[in-house]
Symmetry: C2
Subunit: 230 residues, 2 copies
């Protein structure tokens, strides 16, 4: 991990009192979907010690138009492009704030099967400021193990754990047949974000919960569609 | 696995001579992205022995408008809605053909780390007609193992393997630092589809290759963005 994350983000939070959620009501989902990609490219630029970048340079790197980039950034006030382009660190800090990287959301992984364990060891969380704290499963052979740094706890302990450990995100990597029940338990226990790998789409209209569904199979099928056209 | 897949798809292929790629030049990427979701819901309806479904019923299940569904299906000739809705099996067969499920694309997994092994054991491939045949890695401790049914071979054997075993898709689950080199080797050896989990976006303009990038971190960040607004 690179220490620059914490240094930049903490200083930025202090400057503006830690508040980032201002003036973003009208931002379209398409723009929001593109923000994490900007975040990735800006991390790479910082790693390369690049201090400033023009929208034209960024557009060539990312293979989108410079006009698109300016439009996207204007949704958030424009990030102060002047003279020769954007200040890379400032842009990185601002986009990190918008994405909540400096919030250090805490996560649990529900389902310690192959995918859950692969995610539990994945540096992706740390790179995005998310802190996994534990995994849960029903399998007695897995309970008591650790995966990376994460203890695997019994699903029976879920509510007790959540009552003691503030948790923002639950990563659902359990079988789809039990996805809805687990989601309900998590929502009732106050978890506000579900990252859902189960393949079962979840409806929790009665709760104020954000759900992000990951359908890996859909992505595979999109590739197959393209191959089928060749 | 359910045998209905093969029975339906083989009979459909015979009917129209196996060709599915007709009249689809103008279909928008947004429509294509929605097809795998229709595929999932239709599988579920078949499992429930549902024979016919109206666009209104399907729209309620899927939480999209009936008009959207009809517009999407009209891109492919409409799938013969008449009287009370669509014939579920016919719709499933037609969408399967468009997505190439009946092509039985053959895949290798390049990178036998945590994510590669989790994917290697995942039923997702079989459910979508894709046949994984082998995994590749550089790690001598992994080479010679089997993951599920898949042998883990040395990356040094990659070209020799591909020369002997027709392979449509390579799943890239190796470190991002070596992603570009591996992609180039695969493209040179004639692999036409790359399913890229490395987090490094790949450019292979000089080859006729389809690339589907999966950025799990971007999906996590989208969830964090929503949580940050709460």
């Amino acid at each position: 991990m690179h220490d620059f994350d914490q240094t930049y983000l903490d200083s930025a939070s202090l400057e503006n009192g830690g508040s980032a959620a201002t003036g973003r009501e009208g931002v379209s989902p398409a723009v929001i979907k593109r923000l994490p990609r900007y975040y990735r490219y800006l991390r790479e630029l910082i790693r390369q010690d690049k201090l400033r970048i023009s929208s034209r340079e960024l557009s060539q790197m990312m293979n989108v138009t410079a006009s698109q980039i300016r439009q996207d950034f204007n949704c958030f006030g424009g990030f102060g492009q002047q003279g020769y382009g954007y200040n890379v660190k400032y842009l990185y800090v601002k986009i990190s704030e918008i994405l909540g990287v400096n919030r250090h959301f805490r996560a649990i992984i529900v389902g310690a099967g192959n995918l859950g364990r692969a995610l539990g060891r994945n540096p992706m969380f740390a790179k995005r400021g998310v802190v996994p704290t534990a995994m849960f499963d029903v399998n007695p052979d897995l309970i008591g193990q650790t995966v990376g740094d994460l203890p695997v706890l019994s699903i029976d302990e879920l509510e007790a754990y959540l009552a003691e450990h503030h948790t923002d995100i639950a990563v659902l990597t359990l079988p789809k047949e039990v996805a809805a029940e687990a989601a309900l338990r998590l929502a009732r226990a106050g978890v506000k974000g579900l990252w859902n790998f189960t393949g079962r789409e979840l409806m929790l209209d009665e709760f104020d919960v954000c759900i992000e569904n990951v359908h890996l199979g859909d992505s595979l099928m999109t590739l197959c569609y393209e191959l089928n056209l060749m």
